[in-house]
């Protein structure tokens, strides 16, 4: 999923990026991130597909304009993209046009911002989960989301209880590390 971008994309100055490199970068951005961004954008826009598509397009364009943000050395690309999408969504809500349209059942701005913050965090944690190895993710899904005990998870996954414990032990550490990488702090 995280294909290495052509190094030249970060190192070569924007002015000298060739047409080929730009097209390549755009293609890579689309293929790697459009899917995840689309689901996120759908949530952010409350299922409005038109606005969600605008949001994804603008987010990917920002990344294309600022390829330095995609340098893995500078942190998680996904978290940059999700954060950008969230900010764009909030900006769209704040636009005066929207304010005029605001009706009584619309959430106040502060609440909208809190809500998107929660959404962003939710997606970043999910993204961190997706970076875990299958066995680590599995054990957290069974034990935490499935509410299973060590013994039950041991049966479901077909590994000894001791293995369930040690996997949980390592999975949480890996998750914490991934979250820190993505800039999620508790």
């Amino acid at each position: 999923m995280n294909r290495p971008y052509p190094q030249s994309v970060f190192t070569v100055g924007k002015g000298v990026r060739s047409l080929m490199q730009e097209a390549e970068l755009l293609r890579a951005l689309h293929d790697d991130h459009a899917g995840a961004l689309w689901s996120f954008a759908l949530r952010l826009t409350g299922g409005d597909r038109g606005r969600a598509e605008d949001l994804v397009q603008e987010t990917l364009l920002r990344a294309w304009r600022h390829p330095e943000a995609l340098d893995p050395a500078r942190g998680s690309v996904r978290s940059w993209l999700f954060t950008t999408a969230r900010n764009l969504a909030i900006d769209a809500w704040r636009r005066p046009v929207r304010r005029v349209e605001v009706v009584t059942d619309e959430l106040p701005e502060r609440a909208i911002s809190d809500e998107t913050d929660r959404m962003l965090q939710s997606w970043l944690v999910a993204e961190a989960m997706s970076r875990l190895s299958d066995s680590h993710r599995e054990v957290l899904v069974e034990c935490f989301y499935g509410g299973q005990s060590v013994a039950e998870a041991s049966e479901t996954l077909g590994v000894p209880p001791g293995t369930i414990k040690s996997r949980t032990h390592y999975a949480l550490r890996a998750l914490k590390l991934a979250l820190e990488e993505m800039g999620v702090t508790q």
């Binding site: 899917g35 689309w38 899904v141 060590v150 998750l175």
Partner: protein
């Protein structure tokens, strides 16, 4: 370091998967074991974060496949970036033109401003005096003049050439040459009349010498300076 028998229990404890007995044992053990206390504190924030995940739409439980973005997205992206590139190129062209203009001005303005101030070539050992053009003081002036200076023991010899371009409308005009000293004092060192299509060449003399001589000025008969040359 002796390995604690509960070393691997912290994860299962934090996500709440230990059995009641295991849990009780671990909780009793915890305050006495620094090996377990620190990690539990470290990991204790994770359940809240895990709970914040919208499991349905993020698909982390591996349920419904994540929906693909609409097929219109890619062509839209392509068009948008192409437009932007075109705009940037156009802006780049304008910037190039602007930069060229700027460089031209940066060269032309100082040249225009400072050229008149470059010192008149001083010939100290006899021979031909080289002349330098005087610059208009207040806007355009029909009369033109060049001056040259030769330093002498008694002061400065000034060579002058003054011409008036052919014109059907202008008549004869009287001019005076002034020497201006460093301290601002000025004294007239000659006067003449010149008309359209005519020119005069003459020498004048001033007591100002060397650094004391700051400028030479040609003034109209009403006293208004028209041409000047810094020495």
């Amino acid at each position: 370091m002796t390995r604690c028998p509960h070393a691997y229990d912290d994860g299962a404890y934090v996500v709440g998967s230990l059995s009641t007995e295991e849990r009780r044992a671990f909780v009793n053990h915890l305050p006495r074991c620094p090996h377990c206390k620190a990690p539990v504190r470290l990991l204790s924030g994770l359940p809240a974060l895990l709970a914040s995940v919208d499991t349905e739409s993020t698909g982390i439980l591996g349920g419904a496949p994540i929906e693909m973005p609409p097929p219109t997205l890619w062509p839209r992206l392509l068009t948008a970036t192409q437009l932007e590139r075109k705009r940037k190129r156009r802006r780049g062209r304008w910037l190039t033109v602007a930069a060229c203009l700027f460089v031209l001005l940066a060269i032309a303005v100082p040249v225009a401003l400072y050229a008149p101030f470059s010192p008149v070539h001083r010939v100290t050992q006899g021979g031909q005096v080289s002349l330098a053009a005087m610059s208009p003081v207040n806007g355009a002036s029909m009369v033109r003049a060049e001056v040259g200076v030769v330093e002498k023991a008694w002061g400065t010899k000034v060579a002058l050439h003054c011409s008036y371009p052919p014109s059907e409308y202008a008549g004869e005009q009287s001019y005076s040459l002034f020497a201006v000293s460093r301290s601002g004092a000025s004294e007239q060192i000659g006067s003449w009349t010149v008309g359209p299509g005519k020119e005069i060449t003459t020498d004048a003399a001033t007591r100002f010498r060397g650094k004391d001589l700051a400028a030479l000025e040609i003034r109209r008969s009403d006293g208004k300076p028209v041409l000047r040359r810094l020495v």
